[in-house]
């Protein structure tokens, strides 16, 4: 299972990308990652969780999960982020073994 999170906007307007592969994690962490993805129900969420009139300086997210041939991407405004997805995002952002990048808008490559 691979999880990648792209975050943009915020007061700084910068883009961060955080990716983690369950295969590169210790078994316990890999299990926890799966549990967080399960809890967030990522594969069952609509692909857009965005608002028509975004609040200034809030973050926006793109969360992609790949698992056993399935892949699903959701884009979400921070203010519309369900708590379970927020929890997944902060888990991935802190898990040892993740890969982090930061850059200006329109600079980080898409998948």
């Amino acid at each position: 299972m691979k999880v990648s999170i792209v975050r943009g906007g915020g007061l700084a307007g910068l883009v961060t990308k955080t990716a983690v592969d369950a295969d590169s994690l210790p078994p316990e962490e890999a299990e926890q990652l799966r549990a967080k993805v399960e809890e967030a129900g990522v594969f069952d969420l609509p692909s857009k969780l965005t608002t028509d009139s975004p609040q200034p300086d809030r973050f926006s997210y793109e969360v992609t999960v790949q698992d056993e041939g399935r892949e699903h991407t959701i884009t979400a405004s921070e203010e519309a982020l369900p708590d379970s997805v927020r929890d997944l995002v902060s888990y991935v952002k802190n898990v040892p073994g993740r890969e982090d990048e930061v850059g200006p808008p329109d600079d980080l490559p898409s998948e």
Binding site: V6, R7, G8, G9, G10, L11, A12, G13, L14, V15, T16, K48, T50, S53, P54, Q55, P56, D57, R58, F59, S60, Y61, E62, T75, S77, E79, L81, D83, R86, S90, K93, N94, D100, V102, G103, P104, P105, D106, D107, L108, S110
Partner: protein, 357 residues
Amino acid sequence: MCGSFCLIAPPDVLVRIAEEGAPAERDSALRTLAKSVGLRAQRATVGSAMRELGVDAAELAFLAPTRDAFITVYDVGHGGDFALPGERRRGEDDPASPDPEVNEAYEGAEKTYEFYREVFDRDSIDGRGLEIVSSVHYGTEYDNAAWTGAQMIYGDGGGGMFITGGMTKALDVIAHELTHGITDFTANLQYRKQSGALNESFSDVFGSLVKQRVLGHSAADADWLIGEGIIAPALDGVALRSMKEPGTAHRFDRQPASMEDFMDLPDDDNPRNDHGGVHINSGIPNRAFYLAATEIGGNAWEQAGRIWYVTLTENLGPNSSFQEAAEATVRVAGELFEESGSEQNAVRGAWETVGVL
């Protein structure tokens, strides 16, 4: 029916009374709703009902200005939007809190309020004494601060972009965010493409002016930086943005200084595109303000600031473009000072230099 009962009735009950009650009851229920911090801070919970009633925050603030608890700071205890506002930590006349972030958020709101009151005779964010609610310790290592449409939220920083504790340390950042609230209540510039970049720029302009006035800096003395000293070492820079020299504040700063380098990003939901580059292209109007203010001289909030304030609050609308904003500032400069006077010439020259006029 709606005497002391309303003081303890939950918002959904009050909304029902407002919907179904007689005119006097409706009025009383609305007043109570207006006083409720819980409602203001958690507008989403009752938002749809309020929209059905056709009531907006401006109307509520007018019904019941809450001067008794004018600036208040809460601790949301690392929760998200659904936990707002959290536990009350400081209000009017309360002593300082042991938590420095509570005090910084409080004092930043107070200084921003005083700026708008004393310089532009504006009573708070809505111009009608709206209570200013802030919550600190939002989220986990949340590298951000924002105006949600109902209140301020501040994270703790420390997530890679800002120093820990940095989100409440910069007065210009606090005033930037509160100015987003003022823009909501006035021009309501849509947060996309050029109107969104203008929305960002007005927040940087007044954020910087609040700081300049507190420091007693003239246009010539000011550093024209936004968020000086609060960015993480990894960004290898001095601040978030430079109004004087857009694109030079840190290693990822790509703000253009003129229309030649305008970045036409799409307004889609892709987080890489920042609603059509609102934090990128704001560099252009930011520099126009810097050029106008330094050309006019003296304190930037006195002449240039007034021109920009009257433009924002009386002359722009949701879809205003850079060119419309530029033309409006030139017109307003002529109305406030004199046609073809030094102020108007400075404003026109500034927009010409950045390639908008």
